[in-house]
Structure formats: C-alpha cells, structure tokens
Amino acid sequence: MQNKSITFGSHKTKGAPFLKRITKDRLFALSLLIPSIIVTVMFILVPVLDSVIRSFQDYRIKNIIAGTPGQWNEFANYMKLFSNNKLLPSIETTFIFVGGVVLAQFILGMAMALVLNSNLKGARFIRSIMMAPWIVPTIISGLIWMWIYQPQYGLLKYVVEIFSFGKITDFAMLNNPATALFGIAIAALWKQIPLTALLLVSGLANVPDETMEAARVDGANSVNRFFHITIPYMKSIIKVTTSMAIIENFKQFPLIWTMTGGGPNNSTSTLAILSYREAFVSNNLGSGAAVTTVWMLLMVVVVILFNIIFKETKMD
C-alpha cells in the first residue's frame, strides 16, 4: 500500500492525472483480454445457452437441416426424462463412477508419486515410461481392455482361472451388471493415474525439506509427517489434480460407449451415455440437451462443493 502511494505520488509530481493513468491501464488490460473474451463467449457461453434453450424445445435433426427453429414443448423433454426412469439411475451411476475413480485415482496416484519421489532404484525409468497409457487414445484404451476382459479368450479370464485353480472358468467382468462399471473404472484408472502421479510428484517438490527435517527431529513419524506436512503443502496441486479428475470422469463417454455401450441392462449408463442416446441415437436433440443441462447443473454443484471443501488456506 505504501509503495503504491509513493508511485501514485510520483505520478502526480510528473503532472500525469492519477485517475486517467489507472483507467488507461485498465483499458489496456481489457484490450488484452478481448480475444479470450470473444473465444469464451463464442465457443463456451453461446453454445451452453443455446443448449439450455434447446432443452425446452422440440428440436430435431430436421430442424438443423431445414434451418427451422425448435418449438417450445412445455417441459416435455424434462418430463420424459423423469418419467422413463432413466435419469436418476444415470445420475447415480455417474456419481458412483466419478466418486470411485477419483478417490482411487488420488490414492494410487499419490502412492505412485511417493514411490517416484523416493530414491528407489529404477524410479527414473518408471517415471519415463509411466505416461504411456495416458498417451493412448481413449477409444484404443477401451478396445485394449475389452480384449483383456474378453470372457472366452481374454487375459483376465486366464489369470482368474489360474489363481482360482481352475474353479472359476467363466469370469466375465463386463458381462455382469454388478462388475461392469468396476471394469470400466479400472480402464479409466489405468489411463488417468500416470498424469495424476506426475502432477503430484511435481507437488511433492513444494514440500520444504527443512520443515520435514524439523518434524523428524521433533519425533513425528512418517504417517504424521505425511498427513500434517506433506498433504497441507500439496493442497493446491491436489486441488488442481482432483478437479481435473472429477471433470474428466464426469464427462467420460468414449471409454464407456466403446466398452459396454451403457449395458449390460443399463448398468453402466451414465449421464454422458444417456445424453448421447437421447440426442444421437433417438435423434432428439432437445431431449439430449435436457440431459446435458441437468448434467451441467450437477457439475456446477459438484464444483461448488469441491471448492468449499478445498477452501484456500495459506501455509506459513
């Protein structure tokens, strides 16, 4: 504050009007932001608003082709979603999937990051190859895991058969409604954990050695040091990593569509699958937009809750 006064004072002495200078700077800053504002408005805000409007209309492919506007249909899209008993199970499946994957991703990613951050032999080699799954396109990942899970000649069936001493010969992860979502979650984790670990490794560099050393001298064991020093110091990177994981899995579509198509018996039908089916399988874009709107609102709620939980605290 004091510095600012000095600066402002010095401007005054040079004869430059104080307010005009501030306004100029603000205008300059605003002008620098114009391209970002245009991109955000054109490619994010307008489509989102457009989608919300469509969700209240009878809007189909023929409207796009003929260039005709949709017709207001008295909340029919929403009423249909709630009456066909599909929306709530899809919301439930989405939350189970997101919650499970994000939690497992954080725990396994953190474990991997701690290993990579240690002086373990081969850590550098592992770090260099661990990004491979992340590079593989999601659809290809799905196909790879489908082959692994293949119930007649897949690798997993073979492994289960060996470890069960030949007692289980028909293990089919994706065919069972009770395990199909778990099977997809494993594929999602395989793909996403490397990035999480890499980000967390970079976060571990923020933990000051002196503080750790002081805690060690004071007699804190490794568990206490981890929960009372490492985690608090990594809070900002954990927040970024977790929010990325939530968003990634909340909108997860290609993996699920490739591996199960929402089945068996709709057990893996998330909001992403429901939205796609309504819009592009049923060819009812208005109904698809209604799912997307509900999906977006839930996402907003999740992000707000997430921000409340991870409220910024300064580490001194």
Binding site: I65, N84, N85, Q152, P177, G263, N284
Partner: protein
C-alpha cells in the same frame, strides 16, 4: 520503449480479434472460391453433354458419395473399381467419396448436411433410412426411379426400404439373419453335418452334444450364439428371433406390439440358453464371428456378409461353414428380418439426382454386382433377375439359407429404431445376465419402450 511495446501488443491483439471474428466468413469465402474453381475446371475439361434416356447433362456433374466401405480393406478395391468403371462409361460424371468409419457414418452424414455440405448418395444400412428420411436428407426413390425399374427388386427388400409407407432407398443386396453352423463340430458331436436343426426344439436337442465338445486347446464350445450386446444391430437380430417364434415387436404404424406369445417365448428361450451356458453372454456379432472362426461356436445368427468377419480371422473357415434358414420356434415358421445394404439419394438438384440415379443403376448391373457378391460381400442380390446366379446358388455361405429369403420380412422403420433396439438388448440382458423373471422384465421394457416410441 514501454509505449512502443503497448502499441505493438494492441496491434497484435487487434489482428487476433479481427481474425477470430472474421474466420467464419473467410472460410465461407474460401469454400465459394474453391467451388467456383472446381466448376470452372470441370467446365473447361469437357464441353460436351451426356445424354441419358431421360435427362441431358449440360455440364459436368460430381456425385458426392458418403461410403464407409471405402475405408475397409477388401471392400475398397471394389468401390474404387466401380467408381472408375462408371466414370469411364459416363465421362461427364465424377464420383467423389466422402468417408467416415462405419459407426460414425450416420452422424457424419447429418453433420455434413447440417453444415452445408452436399451429399448426393449414402451407402449404408436400411436402419439408417428413418433417421435420414425424418431429417429430410434423402429422397423417396419413387420420385426418381420408375415403377417399372423398382418392380424388378424383391418386394420384401423394397418393403424394408419403407419409412411410414414410402420407400427411401434402393437395396443393393440383402440378407435375412441366417444361421451359420460349423460342419466339423457337428461331425465331432456325432451329428449329421448336412442336417442342421430347423426348429428351436431340434437345436436344443443337439446342443448338449455340442456343449460337451472342447477345442484342440481345451476351450469350451458354445452350441448356439445369439447377439445380445448393447448395439443397435443386436436389437435387429433379436427382432428377427422374435419373428422366428411367430411373434411381433412393432406394428406397421410403429406402435409397440409385444403382447404375443412369440415375443415372450423368445426371451424365455434366451433365458434357457443362458441358464444352460449355451450362448456366449452379451456378445456382439463380431464376438460371435471370432468364436465361430476359432471353432468355439457351433451355430450362430448373422447376416450373410458377416462371414467376411469370420474369414478375416480364419481363412480356413470356408471349409467348415454352412448356412441354414433361421430356426422356427413356438408357433412360428422361422421368419427373419431382412437387412439390406442400401443406396440412399440426397436431393441436390436435378442434375445431381439424375447422375446419382445412373450410378445406382450401374451398381446394380450384373457385371458390377455379381462379382462383388461372389467374391467380396456374400449377399443376396436385390434384383430378382440376378437370383439364379450359379456362384450364389452354390456358395456354402449363402446356398443353405436361400429359402429364408422367401419368408423374410422387413422390420418397421421408425426414427427412434436404434434407441428402441438398444432397449431390446437391455431386455435380453435383464433376463440373462441379470437373471430377472421374463414377465417382469417385459413389463419394465414396455414402459421404457413406449416412451421411446412416443419420442
């Protein structure tokens, strides 16, 4: 210096903003320029006009042909040769392929047309017809082809082209869901390889013998494969099975019509197959093709061209494959659903439509179609005049099921058919992997299906 930097930054920002705002317009301009250049080039290429029976082309025409098969090995050669042959015959007409992967093609066509791109012809499944017709992308073929020409096509195949009673496509070749079986496995099980089952009961009598077999590497042999995975074509195959039981799924108006014994018996049959471990669970057609190719599946339902998938895995499969008519169950007579690879025409002006019509007629000629069906995609030609082809009558893939063409029916084409089919697969999964009771599952299906159909 600082002022200079600010001015420079502002200039850069201005340039970026202008380019952002103007990029859409620039693209349109570019497209216009491109098309103008193409037109000019075409005009200079050939001044002469081409005359067909009904239409005189005054300038060169380019047919934009959306075709996924061009991307698929084995099919690409045929389509490129067809294009070449047609362009040689009609020098003023050029065929330009627009490609996308099979699973994406329908959405891609909609996106192209929605984005202002012209599509004159689409090669795809008959189940795409309602979507494209409802969107106003394709033309009724009766607007273009004479009644006389269309009467040369099998009526059952033309029926499969109808959306609300109007035919929107020309079938190139078709196949009902037929039954493939492995003669070697039949022999190993002590069954007559030349007497496949004709009814569900006969099949269930044979099944234990086939289920007792193991492959050379000790893998289980499944007696009967029926696709029930969450993909649209599995729903079509299930509809076919319902027909085989004498049941129905949708009436001619596209309303739900499942209160019949055949429908219930179909799902009871699927449940029984699952309980006895006879059917590989939640399989896609390509999974069944894999198992059949590897000798792990004795019988399964597929379209005739599905054998290409089998052959691509095991070229020796031609030695043990045979086809048969679909099984008759309950009060049914083994009827089946016709599936057709279809040509669908866009409406982009008279010249385009006439040129496309010529191309379709060219594709359906004996010289072009028969070698394709004999060597590339096993299927039954849509033109009745081509039915007596020796290569098709003697084909192990096609001959055994030839008679099923006579009883095959078309499924009702409605715009929500793909979603409806997915729900049919969910019903089959409910009674199999979810082990739910058939009656209760059908009631639950009815509620969801009615909402889909009212969409």
């Amino acid at each position: 210096m600082s002022k200079m930097k600010k001015v420079l930054s502002l200039l850069l920002i201005f340039a970026l903003t202008v380019s952002l705002v103007g990029c859409g317009g620039a693209q349109k301009e570019e497209t216009k320029t491109d098309s103008a250049q193409t037109d000019e080039a075409q005009a200079t290429n050939e001044e002469t006009s081409e005359t067909s029976d009904n239409y005189e082309f005054t300038e060169p025409v380019t047919i934009k042909f959306a075709n996924y098969a061009v991307l698929e090995a084995g099919y690409d050669v045929f389509w490129n040769n067809a294009k070449k042959g047609f362009e040689e015959k009609y020098p003023d007409i050029t065929v330009e392929f627009m490609t996308a992967e099979y699973g994406q093609m329908l959405t891609q066509v909609v996106t192209w047309v929605g984005g202002g791109e012209k599509v004159d012809l689409v090669f795809g499944e008959a189940s795409w017809l309602p979507t494209l017709a409802d969107a106003g992308i394709i033309l009724p073929v009766t607007d273009t082809f004479s009644e006389d020409y269309l009467s040369q096509i099998y009526p059952s195949m033309m029926d499969a082209m109808k959306v609300y009673g109007i035919p929107y496509g020309v079938p190139m070749y078709a196949s009902p869901f037929i039954m493939f079986y492995n003669k070697d496995l039949f022999e190993q099980a002590g069954l007559d390889p030349n007497s496949p089952p004709t009814t569900v009961d006969e099949m269930m009598e044979m099944a234990p013998k086939l289920a007792a077999l193991k492959t050379a590497d000790g893998n289980q042999v499944y007696p009967f494969g029926m696709t029930t995975a969450s993909v649209g074509v599995s729903g079509s195959c299930l509809t076919s099975l319902v027909y085989g039981f004498g049941g129905s799924v949708l009436n001619a108006d596209g309303q739900l019509d499942i209160d019949n014994a055949g429908f219930t018996q179909t799902f009871e049959f699927l449940k029984e197959l699952d309980d006895k471990g006879y059917n590989p669970q939640v399989s896609k057609l390509k999974d069944l093709r894999n198992l059949f190719a590897l000798g792990q599946l004795a019988m399964y339902y597929d379209q005739s061209w599905g054998f290409n998938g089998v052959r691509s895995i095991n070229p020796e499969a031609a030695n043990f494959v045979a086809s048969a008519a679909p099984l008759a169950g309950g009060q049914g007579t083994g009827e089946s659903v016709i599936q057709a690879h279809t040509l669908m025409m866009g409406n982009n002006g008279e010249a385009q439509v006439e040129a496309t019509k010529l191309f379709i007629e060219y594709l359906l000629t004996e010289d072009v179609l028969v070698p394709y069906l004999e060597n590339v995609a096993p299927g039954y030609p849509s033109m009745m005049a081509l039915s007596e082809i020796q290569g098709i009558k003697e084909s192990p893939v096609l001959s055994g099921a030839l008679k099923s063409l006579d009883t095959a029916k078309s499924a009702t084409n409605i715009p929500t058919i793909n979603d409806f089919n997915l729900e049919l697969t969910a019903l089959s999964q409910a009674v199999t992997v979810n082990d739910k009771e058939v009656g209760q599952s059908i009631e639950e299906f009815k509620k969801v299906a009615e909402i889909i159909l009212s969409n």
